[in-house]
């Protein structure tokens, strides 16, 4: 009967030092054992940060949105910037898990679980920012269409309502997708755990046994979900980009925005995956599963998206000049040399220049280098959104109404807090759910065979 499938051969190559399924269970489930000092330290910081996050937010609700640095004409600032940033981060997760799944990319198995978790938590974080941003958060539920005695419905022409639908859909689908993927692994954990954890996992596994019927439907469902998630991920950041592109603000009103934002999202997301994967690998000793090959692949993806994004920058500037419209030109001139020149140059250097180093194999294969570069990219991408939003608003059509915006301490606190809020959930995840997909890893390992057939394989 069947010899090794292609993917299994490649799998064998990707994970040379893993020989048997049970080792996978052993290694992966080992991560769920009692955490070390490092983890507790990080977790402590995260908890403090979450305190800062909600502390600042409640202070803002109590005093009024005026405690932010926002002003006229710059009504959107750090909050929306950070919202877009986190939504962008989310994207690579779905990309790696869904799109690469559909394309059968061999190297995704070991990273996609972490990436998916990142997606879910990133969307959770992003979803808070519109609430933080609005002046009367206690009325924010009016954006949700629900039958009410006023006979009022939201305005479906507003990109913000599109946002509500896109982001909630994205959160639901990616959460479901994530959870579904974990079920077999949770079952595995269940079969080895004891006590409270056993109860937890038994509940989460929902009685999964790995029967033929379960696997059969599971496989189909998983493919369909992946097929649905793929256009979804593209749509979500397109919708986010339309928050700007639908506006008439010079510097926003550009048709290139949707693809430009999607590319940027994947760019920043993959960078964030690297940022997270490197320490994860170190702490949990996953060298066997996260090999330089994986990082090499990720780095290439970063390089590609970086080129797309940088091309988009150039297009923007060219179109502004080519349009000949004074307001349009003014905005882009102001970006480069105006009040916010520094932000623009941070953006250009971090997202356009630094990734050029990834052309070199030595860089792609040096984990520390990748880690540093990925950090720069995260910074650069935050500033990209900052530049798009703030510089455009500060120099609009009406010269007499031009103004500048300086983020306040409260905004900074919430920005920093949001990272801790994200880290809080991610750290919990590494301790409670198998951070590496057990079952799918086995798909790419050589199946154990009896006697001579097994030797044939080695030969």
């Amino acid at each position: 009967m069947a010899s090794l499938t292609e993917s299994q051969k490649r799998g064998a190559l990707t994970h040379p030092d893993v020989s048997h399924y049970s080792e996978v269970n052993r290694d992966v489930l080992a991560m769920l054992s009692t955490p070390g000092k490092g983890w507790w330290a990080l977790f402590g910081i995260a908890v403090l940060g979450v305190g800062l996050f909600f502390g600042s937010w409640f202070y803002q609700i109590y005093r009024g949105i005026g405690v932010s640095g926002l002003t006229s004409p710059v009504g959107w600032g750090a909050y929306i910037t950070t919202f877009v940033f986190w939504v962008g981060i989310a994207h690579s997760g779905t990309l790696i898990s869904a799109i690469l799944f559909l394309f059968r990319a061999p190297w995704r198995q070991s990273v996609y679980r972490a990436a998916e978790a990142m997606t879910v938590f990133a969307v959770m974080t992003a979803g808070l920012f519109p609430l933080i941003h609005v002046g009367r958060v206690w009325n924010a539920y009016w954006l949700i269409p629900y039958p009410n005695q006023r006979f009022l419905w939201p305005n479906f022409r507003s990109p913000l309502v599109w946002d509500v639908f896109a982001v909630t859909t994205y959160f639901t689908v990616s959460a479901v997708f994530f959870y579904l993927g974990t079920i077999p692994d949770v079952a595995a954990a269940r079969d080895q755990a004891t006590g409270l954890r056993k109860k937890l996992y038994s509940f989460l596994a929902m009685g999964w046994q790995g029967t033929d019927r379960e696997w059969h439907h599971f496989g189909k469902a998983y493919i369909f979900l992946a097929a649905l998630a793929t256009p979804l991920v593209l749509s979500v950041h397109s919708v986010v980009s339309w928050d700007f592109a639908v506006g008439i603000v010079p510097g926003w009103h550009a048709t290139v925005f949707a693809p430009y934002f999607v590319a940027g999202a994947i760019f920043s997301g993959v960078a964030m995956v690297i940022t997270l994967a490197v320490p994860l690998r170190k702490v949990f000793g996953l060298e066997a599963y996260l090999t330089t090959k994986h990082f090499d692949a990720l780095a290439k993806l970063v390089l590609l998206t970086s080129l797309i994004v940088f091309y988009a920058y150039l297009t923007e500037f060219f179109m502004a000049w080519y349009s000949g419209e004074p307001p349009e030109r003014q905005v882009f001139w102001n970006r480069l040399f105006g009040h916010y020149w520094w932000a623009t140059w941070i953006m250009l250097v971090c997202n356009g220049m630094i990734p050029i180093m990834l052309w070199f194999k030595r860089v792609r294969h040096s984990i520390p280098a990748l880690f540093v570069i990925s950090i720069f990219i995260n910074i650069g991408m935050w500033f990209e959104r900052y530049v798009i939003i703030v510089t455009s608003l500060s120099h609009e059509y009406e010269p007499f109404a031009w103004g500048v915006y300086r983020p306040s301490m409260v905004e900074m606190g919430i920005l920093i807090g949001s990272f801790c809020w994200f880290g809080f959930w991610f750290l919990l995840f590494t301790r409670l759910l198998p951070p590496v997909a057990i079952a799918e890893l086995k798909e790419v390992l050589p199946a154990p065979r009896r006697g001579k057939k097994a030797q044939e394989v080695e030969a």
Binding site: F165, G210, D212, P448
Partner: protein
């Protein structure tokens, strides 16, 4: 579902599992009498069990189409219900509604897919199984055959011929 008596065999090796299933099938054991266990989706086993297309895809399709319809119908209706002009745009701004329709397509599609999966694969089942080998989720494969009397013996002999690492009789939910 009533309890069915039968025999459970655990295997260390994939090929022996597959061959055992094929032999059982040849021996006339119905697909419904057999349950195979694997630590990951193994298409050899599925093939041996003789599965066709999964009905889940129908759930996905129906859900998705419902989503599209809802998306357009709801936005259009709510706009007409209390017509308010914004930005000089038509009361029915179809292009804008496409976004909503699309998102609902995906949402409904995904949710009904999951629903389909659960119903088809009889999940969730929280009753702890009597005969189940925890190793199934780790390294082992397994076959449970529903049978009694003579058929049971026949099944046992077939299974034994494939050198199972463990052989147990018991009831299965």
């Amino acid at each position: 579902m009533s309890e069915k008596n039968g025999i459970l065999a655990s295997f260390d090796f994939l090929d022996s599992t597959v061959e055992a299933i094929e032999e059982l099938r040849r021996a006339g054991f119905k697909k419904s009498d057999l349950t195979a266990y694997a630590p990951f989706p193994e298409h050899h086993i599925e093939h041996a069990m003789g599965y066709g297309q999964s009905p889940v895809r129908v759930w996905t399709l129906v859900g998705a189409l419902t989503g599209t319809a809802t998306g357009f119908a709801f936005t259009a209706w709510s706009s007409m219900d209390w017509p308010l002009v914004t930005g000089g745009k038509p009361i029915l701004s179809i292009p804008a509604y496409v976004v909503i329709a699309f998102e609902l397509t995906v949402l409904f599609g995904a949710l009904s897919t999951v629903l389909g999966l659960f119903i088809n694969s009889k999940l969730p089942g929280f009753k702890p199984p009597v005969v189940y080998d925890p190793e199934f989720s780790s390294g082992r494969f397994g076959i449970f055959v529903v049978a009694d009397g003579a058929r049971l013996n026949e099944a046992r002999s077939i299974l034994e011929s494939h050198e199972p690492s463990e052989l147990r009789e018991g009831a299965h939910a």
